[in-house]
Symmetry: C2
Subunit: 306 residues, 2 copies
């Protein structure tokens, strides 16, 4: 049997890494040989979760080979996927994002639901296929949902995510409030990252009409602390804009304790941001009260105003 590989998006976050490991476990139990891999370095939050749960991190790859059979989790857009993805055979997708910049030559299994986390969908797949969830896999899925919904506080959270968190916490034998806060906090220690690493930690490229944009996001427990590094972050953003021909770069610093964000915005299309949020940028920054979700509260606003 030829081995399939499963992976999430570039700049991997906790959902992407956990979904790849969990999907490989589920498919294995259904009789398929599927290896989880990753497209980049782990962030500290994910490292915390894997260490706590005593799970090995997947092998890293940078591109896929022609004709390689793959499963995508937690993304579908080719620009967020492995290099050479257009020449792979995509057999399955499990995701919770919009569909864009994606196509296949042949029919496939595609399962997306408008919930807060890919692992919420994966948990349903275990149930539908009558496959038992191990303590470790429950811990991974729990970590992913806590991460994507900021401990069920993000507007992307649905009733299904909440239900899954409660059930998975039981199977994993974890107090999800305590564990979740520790895990999120572990992810906010960004002191030893260079500015370039900071903007790459959780960065998504996206098309806004015919414009090319990047939206990067970091979580913090203290926005002011991160803003002391504004100058070097801006320097790096400008360099990225030039090197990659971007029209807009939005760097979002999200306060996970108080659920607000500060944005740093550069590029020749900053007017899209100003129009969308009805805010004049001051010194290229804007405070966005109540905004924590790139997918639900930032990307659609920019898309509608591009």
């Amino acid at each position: 049997m030829e081995e399939m590989i499963v992976f999430g998006h570039k700049s991997p976050d906790t959902d992407t890494i956990c979904s790849a490991i969990v999907m490989s476990d589920l498919q294995g139990k259904l009789g398929k040989k599927v290896k989880a891999v990753r497209l980049g370095e782990l962030n500290k939050e994910t490292e915390y979760a894997l260490k706590y749960l005593n799970v090995e991190k997947p092998e890293i790859i940078s591109e896929v080979e022609n004709g390689q059979e793959v499963i995508l989790v937690d993304h579908n857009e080719f620009s967020q996927s492995a290099n050479n993805i257009e020449n792979a055979k995509i057999k399955m997708v499990v995701d919770h994002h919009r569909i864009c910049d994606f196509q296949t030559a042949e029919p496939l299994y595609y399962r997306a639901e408008p919930v807060g986390c890919t692992c919420t969908v994966l948990y349903k797949l275990y149930k539908e296929n009558n496959v038992e969830v191990s303590e470790k896999m429950a811990g991974l899925m729990l970590s992913a949902i806590i991460s994507d919904t900021l401990l069920l506080k993000s507007p992307t959270k649905t009733d299904e995510d909440e239900k899954a968190v409660k059930e998975l916490a039981q199977i994993a034998n974890l107090d999800y409030q305590t564990y979740g806060l520790e895990m999120l906090k572990a992810g906010t220690d960004l002191s030893d990252f260079s500015a370039k690493e900071l903007i790459g930690l959780d960065c998504k490229e996206c098309a806004l009409s015919d414009k090319k944009a990047k939206i990067a996001q970091v979580n913090t427990a203290d926005i002011n602390d991160m803003m002391t590094r504004k100058a070097e972050i801006e320097e790096t953003m400008k360099k990225d804009i030039e090197e990659n021909g971007l029209d807009l770069f939005v760097f979002v610093i999200t306060d996970i304790i108080n659920s607000n964000s500060q944005a740093i915005v550069h590029g020749k299309e900053t007017a899209i941001f100003e129009k969308g949020f009805n805010k004049k940028l001051e010194d290229n920054t804007a405070f966005l009260p109540g905004v924590v979700s790139r997918k639900k509260q930032i990307l659609p606003v920019l898309q509608e105003n591009a």
Copy 2:
């Protein structure tokens, strides 16, 4: 509650019509208000099925309004969908085709499986949601699967389709062999169609690399009978090529009794067809033994050689 609409592709076939009606029934039972509509006239096979099962045909529409919430069944490509689909809000898709020429601005429910028929997936959704299948809905799903798999003889047929047919035949109280053959035969009576109607009955536009192609298919119990109309069919194909700027037009006459096809091929890119099937066209035609499936046996061949 605002009403959603659900529809299948243009040039509707039995799966597209039955899937729309069935999805509206399922969603209704799950508490949503969803109306089934259609994008074109019924073919005789579908007419036979709806009449036999005593089910009303859905209302016809030609385009969707801006912002209308819609569910797509049995297709996803915008070129096969309602006019103005790019300005609708696509909330759900249930399908069994490749994904192409499709995108959304927001997350959605997307369910595709590589099986022979959309109704096979819909039948699974009833089960997953613990919704009882009525005799009428079982009859519709059964008709769709028989149509798409040519009574389980097409290479697109999977074990899941076969299992669904047997279970649905029981619920619908139908001998699926007898009913299925009668239904398929009803669809082959094409004597009162003009050549223009013939090529539009089940016609799909598709991109082959950067080329624009159409592949139309009709089912028959006698290929020779249909070939007596070759001249007028070719006249109409050439006109369509000119009017719509097509690079290739393949008209496929499929013998549902013996599982073979005869193709009539026109356009400036006929070499794609000849290369793909390793056959020299004679008088613009070629016999394709064992070929019955556009999706599995024709489209991929053309795509690989474009």
